[in-house]
């Protein structure tokens, strides 16, 4: 692009933003001649340059706007109508500029509509009667504008004097600033970093030679280098006000659109931060201000009814605090409606009613940052456009910031954003793992805990999973040594870096914590970018390069990043049959130990309380008459006492007309949560442990108890469940078995898609969900396991997918027939270890084949 044109575009873009902001100020305070002078000068400059570049369309448009503004300067009253018109003219100019930037040519088209209106207003006699101000959007300037128009003579002198005052400083400013490309600054920054490193190396050398002549000059060099570094950093800094520039215009337009009166106050606009951060925080800020204007501030009528000032206030403020900038966006509106947030949270499954009851108002308010959350009863054009607060939060978190909010009903809402001043330099913890050093950004580090060595804390294991007891909570741990495959070594002691990512807290075990250092982040080599646990590289003071650990990547390798879980939960709602990833209703109860236990609610047929006197003992077993049948009652473990009197709570499980009851001490709750079995168990009757609503909970294996109730429970039906590895498609017509086997397969580390019929299975394989292995029941209505296998073998897409059949009775004939249709394996339906072994074997084959 022509350099002249590019300069013009950059400069005009900046000028237009200024005019936007200034016009809104002017509208509120039309007596301020200096503002008008500013605007006039800016528009005049744009017009002049357009003429010079031969951009005739722009020139005509700006000329018309300038003429109207000239009238203001001559004392014509400033009306909302006129300002709106000039603002729309500016919008048109911007649109033309955008096209110009894209095509390098002024687009064809006519602006006669705007020019005609501008000319009409400019022609109007200043003394002509105008609409009363209350008929318009109600900003204060209308009244003042009219007041000023009354005394034309007095008005005339002011602008003349002020114009002089304006031009003088602007001339001075022009000589004091130059335009420097960002690339130049970035290169300068790199060079300075290099200088700092060289200086550090020199200092290291001199330190070894006691009486060096270099000592004093090097000290001087060192100081100068530090100053230079600081100076270059400063060139990258810009006032936060640059990100606020568009806000007055936005608020003004919103006022007009919503019929509200809002004043925008800005404090600390000169607070500086790195330009890169500034760019990234601009959109979230705009969104929050829109939100305050739309949802926060009430209509004038509602405000007066509430005994407040007619016009609402949105207050933006910024200040430095440590290495951070704190930005607050506060309104004096109605505050958040916690009752509605609660209802919505329950409705979209973020928390159970019971949970919500126990939460503080501030915790409730924070739900608005959850994906898919909007309490606005109707979607307005202003803030309810699908861009939610979750996007605001994730944008801010991406740059290492946090956003928090406080709200008081009737008094207003305040958002507090805390972001680092610069992304280029972060404070990091330098840790050692297997002799290598790594940097962990301190923003995500909550605390350090020393484990082992006879101290208070010790790394414990649940089977192979390391955990730490920290203040009565179980903290999942991961060894960086394992994550990075840096060999074996002592696993029982070390330092635990407690890291928070989103809502997820975990501990990363390292061998040592060396020190903290302000590091300059260098982007990762493109050849290494695929390694999720690293986010960048840096050069330490001693000149060596180390990798920067990405806490998000670690969280992912922990296998249950909070966001992923949320996303999964949403997906599950959409596709009911992807049982393993969905949230499930869990029945939480206590039996025996104090530790909560849970079963998927879908397995439980009924919850009953039976009179203890009705329980009969026969043949050493507890039985009760239940719906004209004798129902066996089982204990989960020996600790569960049978009550001597009163009502005994039981969980009733039924399948194919048979029922059994499980004795429990107390039903605690029914919760919606993702069933993610994190630790499997060898203990019979326990599938494993999962965190359910923050508590480690035993997931009870109902399958273990069924054969105890009826030895032939599994044998009555000839069922086969083929299971593919990695993503296993589970086909069984009985929801009961689906619900029982899905968590089991899930617990063994596979994804599970569960469907209820052969045709649904074929459909699932056709959808884009890749299926690696099929586990199918043999006996099913309509399409049985054999027919399913035949159908699969007949289609090229599915012919190669291994099938494991679940059979109750394995006769030679069944096996023969199964081989013929292409079953890879047979597993007895009640042989759960056998099923897992078969799945493992088939998936190992798959891996080899790939």
């Amino acid at each position: 692009m022509d350099e002249l044109l590019r300069d013009f575009l950059t400069e005009t873009g900046e000028n237009l933003d200024l005019v936007d902001a200034e016009l809104v100020r002017f509208e509120q305070d039309p007596n301020d001649g200096s503002i008008l002078g500013n605007i006039f000068r800016l528009v005049h400059t744009i017009k002049g340059t357009c003429g010079f570049l031969g951009l005739s369309r722009l020139e005509m448009l700006t000329h018309a706007a300038e003429t109207l503004m000239g009238k203001f300067r001559d004392g014509m009253p400033v009306t909302g109508e006129a300002v709106t018109l000039i603002l729309s003219t500016l919008d048109r100019i911007k649109a033309i500029l955008d096209e110009l930037a894209a095509t390098e040519r002024e687009p064809a088209g006519s602006d006669a509509d705007l020019i005609e209106q501008l000319a009409r207003l400019a022609r109007q006699d200043p003394a002509a009667p105008r609409l009363p101000p209350s008929d318009r959007s109600g900003l204060r300037r209308a009244d003042q504008g009219r007041g000023a128009s009354g005394s034309g003579a007095a008005q005339k002198t002011a602008p003349e004097g002020s114009e002089k005052a304006v031009t003088e400083p602007s001339e001075k400013l022009a000589g004091h600033s130059i335009r420097v490309s960002v690339d130049t600054l970035d290169r300068l920054m790199t060079t300075v970093s290099e200088l700092v490193l060289t200086r550090n190396q020199l200092l290291e050398i001199v330190r070894r030679h006691e009486d060096s002549d270099f000592k004093v000059p090097l000290q001087r060099l060192s100081n100068v280098t530090a100053e230079l570094q600081e100076g270059v950093m400063k060139t990258r800094m810009q006032p936060i006000g640059n990100a606020w520039q568009k806000l007055p215009r936005i608020v003004r337009d919103l006022c007009a659109e919503l019929g509200k009166e809002i004043e925008l106050e800005m404090h600390g606009a000169d607070t500086e931060l790195d330009r890169q951060v500034l760019e990234l925080v601009r959109d979230p800020l705009t969104h929050l201000v829109r939100n305050c204007a739309d949802h926060g501030i009430e209509s004038p009528a509602a405000r007066i009814a509430a005994g407040k000032l007619r016009s609402g206030t949105i207050r933006l403020s910024a200040c430095h605090q440590g290495g951070h900038i704190i930005i607050e966006i506060a309104d004096d509106g109605r505050g958040l409606d916690t009752a509605r947030i609660k209802a919505k949270a329950a409705e979209i499954g973020l928390a159970s009613e019971a949970d919500l009851a126990g939460k503080s108002d501030s915790e409730i308010c924070n739900f608005i940052f959850s994906p898919g959350f909007s309490t606005a009863a109707e979607i307005t054009s202003i803030s309810g456009r699908g861009v939610g607060m979750d996007v605001v939060r994730s944008n801010i978190e991406q740059i290492g910031g946090t956003v928090d909010l406080t709200s008081a009903a009737g008094a207003g809402t305040a958002f507090t954003i805390k972001i680092p001043l610069t992304l280029a330099i972060v404070s990091s913890l330098i840790v050692e793992v297997a002799g290598e050093r790594f940097a962990i950004p301190q923003l995500s580090v909550l605390e350090l805990v020393r484990a082992g060595g006879g101290g208070e804390h010790r790394i414990e294991r649940i089977k192979d999973t390391p955990v730490l007891r920290l203040r009565n909570k179980l903290l999942p741990l991961l060894h960086l040594k394992d994550v990075m495959r840096l060999g074996d070594g002592d696993r029982s002691s070390g330092f635990i870096v407690v890291i928070q990512v989103g809502n997820q807290v975990f501990g990363a075990v390292v061998d040592g914590v060396l020190h903290t250092e302000e590091i300059v982040i260098k982007p990762m080599s493109s050849k290494l970018r695929h390694i999720a646990v690293f986010s960048g590289t840096t050069i330490l003071g001693d000149g060596s390069v180390i990798m920067i650990v990405d806490p998000n990547g670690l969280a992912q390798s922990l296998g249950r990043a909070a966001q992923a879980a949320e996303a999964d939960a949403r997906e599950l709602k959409e596709s009911e049959h992807v049982a393993a990833e969905a949230t499930v209703s869990l029945l939480v109860f206590r039996a025996g130990s104090q530790r909560p236990k849970a079963v998927p609610l879908s397995l439980v047929t009924r919850l009953e309380e039976i009179d203890c006197r009705r329980i009969e003992i026969s043949d050493g077993r507890n039985l009760v008459q239940y719906r004209d049948q004798l129902m066996p009652l089982l204990r989960i473990d020996s600790g569960t006492g049978l009550r001597k009197e009163g009502a005994q709570p039981i969980l009733v499980f039924s399948d194919h007309g048979r029922s059994m009851g499980l004795l429990v001490d107390e039903i605690v709750d029914i919760v919606e949560d993702k069933l993610d079995i994190e630790v499997t168990s060898d203990h019979p009757g326990v599938l494993g442990y999962a965190v359910v609503k923050g508590n480690t909970t035993e997931i009870v294996d109902v399958g273990h108890f069924l054969p105890q109730a009826f030895a032939d429970w599994f044998r009555r039906r000839d069922g086969s469940t083929p299971g593919p590895a990695r993503t296993v498609l589970l086909v069984d017509d009985s929801p009961f078995f689906r619900d029982m086997l899905a968590p089991l397969i899930k617990a063994a580390g596979y994804q599970v898609v569960a469907v209820g019929s052969g045709s649904a299975a074929l459909a699932a394989m056709k959808s884009d969900h890749p299926i690696d292995l099929v586990v199918t029941d043999i006996e099913m209505p309509d399409m049985d396991g054999f027919a399913l296998a035949q159908a699969m073998r007949g289609a090229p897409d599915t012919a190669a997918i291994p099938i494991i059949a679940l059979a109750t009775m394995v006769s030679d004939e069944t096996i023969e027939r199964g081989r013929a249709v292409g079953f890879h394996d047979f597993v007895a339906k009640f042989d759960r270890p056998g099923l897992i072994a078969a799945i493992k074997e088939q998936s190992a084959d798959l891996t080899r084949a790939a």
């Binding site: 080599s525 050849k527 390694i531």
Partner: protein
Amino acid sequence: MTAMNDNANLTEYVTFTVAGQLFGLPIERVQDVFKPTRMTRVPLAGPEIAGVLNLRGRIVTAIHLSNRLDLDARAEPTPPMAIGIEFGAESFGLLVDTVGEVLKLPDGEREQNPINLDRRLARVCAGVFRLDGQLLVVLDVDRVLDLGAEAAAA
């Protein structure tokens, strides 16, 4: 300019050896030749990534050339020399066993890859020169650094 005028079609090659094989790189692709020191290995990276190191303030990704080319590298587990190149906006160092002289070779003598050239070499070879007593393989840097494409094909 004078060198170019002697023979309009001369190209200068920086020569080096990896696992006993002689290679050449057009000199305009070579930024510098250096001894890699204080290399930091990168966990979870592939075998062709030897590590990262600091070269005068720039972070250089060191490529283990013999691993990259699947050549036998028993003699030198950590090659002692590196050839610095720029690729995109990034700096890379190709780890090699020895760096030899710069040769001026006429473009007309560069021959196509022999069709029976070892496939591991053919992937990254942009032609061959017959020198006295040995063959010089011209390395195609862009293909050497195109790690992704190979991984996808594998």
